[in-house]
Symmetry: C2
C-alpha cells in the first residue's frame, strides 16, 4: 500500500507522527545525562544519536524544538558536557518514562528510579544501570531547517563490560543487552544475523564470527 | 572496562573505528537509490538515516567525506531526488556488498543482484526487494565539523506492506523483517519487547499491543 504527499498531508497528526517516525528504521536508544550549574540532574531518552567520526570520536544527536529534553539542552549549553548511556532490556520502561514532562525541579533519575553515577570527575551524571556509556564534551550546536537542533560532541571517556568487547574493537551490543527503538514507542532486543567482512568489488563478502574471524564454509 | 581519551588516541585505527562505530547503539539499515542525468543507477547502504520531523515529513542522513556513496551524493545534487529502502533479512548480504568501491560505470544494482524499480514516475530507482521504501526530494546539504555531509530531504511518497501498518500509524518493522546495523558490519533482526503508552509525569506507562491497544494487567 502507499501514501502520496497529498495523503500524508491529510492524515491525522498522531497517525502521521507514528507513520513517519517508523520510516527511518531501527533507532538507537540512549539516555542523555546532564546537570545544571547547581548539580541538579536531568535525564532524557533520545533516539537520534548517530556516529559522525572515529578520530576524533564525534557523535551527534537531534533535539526536537519543543520536546522534553529542553532542560537537557540548557544544561549542555551551560556546562558543555553530557553523558550518553545505552538503554538495555532491564531499564527500557524506566528509560521511556523519562520522556514525561517533569518540572525542572524534578530529576528524572528520581522520578523513574535510575541511579546517577559520577565517574572520573566528569561533571555530568552517568546512569549506573546502563552497561555501555560515555562522557561527551559539547563541540557545536546548530539549528536545522525545521527548528530542530543538531548537537555534536566529542567522546572523552568510554565505559563498557569487558565481555562485550571483541578482539577487533567491535562491541557486541547483543551481549550488552542493548535495545533499539522503532517508531515512537516500540523497544526491541536484537537477534544477530551475523557480521560480514569488508566488502570489495567482484568478491563475495564472507560471514564473520562475533569476534571478527572468517567463518570457513 | 574503560578507554580514556588518551587510550582512544593510541588505539590502532581499525580497532578505534570498530569501537567508536559501536557506541551510538543500533543503527538503521537503508539502501540509498539514485541515478545520474543519463539514468545510470547507483545504490549505497547507509546506516545514519534519522527522523527530523513528521509535518513536513523530513529525514536526514550523514555521508562520510571519502566514503563510497560519493557517487550517490553527486547524483542527488544533480537530480534533487533519491529513494530510501529499508534493508530486510532476505537482502542484508547484498546490501552490505553495495559498500564495495565499484567504478562509476558499474551499477551496484547489477553488481549485488538487486532490482531497480521505478514507481509513480519518480526519477530515482527503488529496490524491488525492499518492503518499506519512500521517495525523497532533496531539501538541503551542509558540511559538518569533520567534513561529513548532512543531507536533508522531504518524504514525497511512501510504500509499505499492508500487514505491517498498525491502526494508529505505527509500522511494525519486525513484521516487515527490517534489520538493524551495529558497529561497521553486524546485522540483526529484532525481538520486540513491546510498545509503551505516551509517558506522563507521576503515572506508570502501560504496555501496548503492536496495534497500540493497552494491555490490561
Amino acid at each position: 500500500m502507499e501514501f502520496s504527499l497529498h495523503d500524508l498531508q491529510q492524515l491525522d497528526k498522531s497517525f502521521r507522527a507514528q507513520l513517519v517516525n517508523s520510516l527511518s528504521g531501527y533507532k538507537s536508544a540512549n539516555l542523555l545525562g546532564s546537570q545544571n550549574k547547581d548539580g541538579k540532574t536531568n535525564l532524557a531518552i533520545i533516539s537520534s544519536v548517530f556516529h559522525l567520526g572515529a578520530d576524533p570520536a564525534l557523535v551527534g544527536f537531534i533535539m526536537r524544538p519543543h520536546s522534553v529534553p529542553r532542560h537537557s539542552l540548557e544544561n549542555i549549553l551551560k556546562t558543555g558536557c553530557y553523558t550518553l548511556n545505552q538503554v538495555n532490556s532491564a531499564i527500557w520502561q524506566a528509560a521511556h518514562q523519562t520522556s514525561a514532562r517533569y518540572e525542572s525541579d524534578e530529576s528524572e533519575f528520581d522520578m523513574v528510579g535510575l541511579t546517577p553515577h559520577y565517574l572520573n570527575g566528569f561533571e555530568a551524571p552517568f546512569v549506573a544501570q546502563s552497561h555501555i556509556k560515555y562522557a561527551v564534551e559539547l563541540q557545536s550546536t546548530q539549528t536545522l531547517v525545521n527548528q530542530t537542533e543538531l548537537v555534536i560532541g566529542e567522546i572523552k571517556h568510554i565505559y563498557l563490560p569487558q565481555n562485550a568487547l571483541m578482539p577487533d574493537g567491535f562491541i557486541d551490543l547483543a551481549t550488552a543487552d542493548t535495545v533499539a527503538v522503532s517508531g515512537l514507542d516500540c523497544y526491541s532486543t536484537a537477534n544477530p544475523l551475523g557480521r560480514l567482512s569488508y566488502a570489495k568489488p567482484h568478491q563475495e563478502v564472507k560471514k564473520l564470527t562475533r569476534s571478527g574471524e572468517v567463518i570457513q564454509n
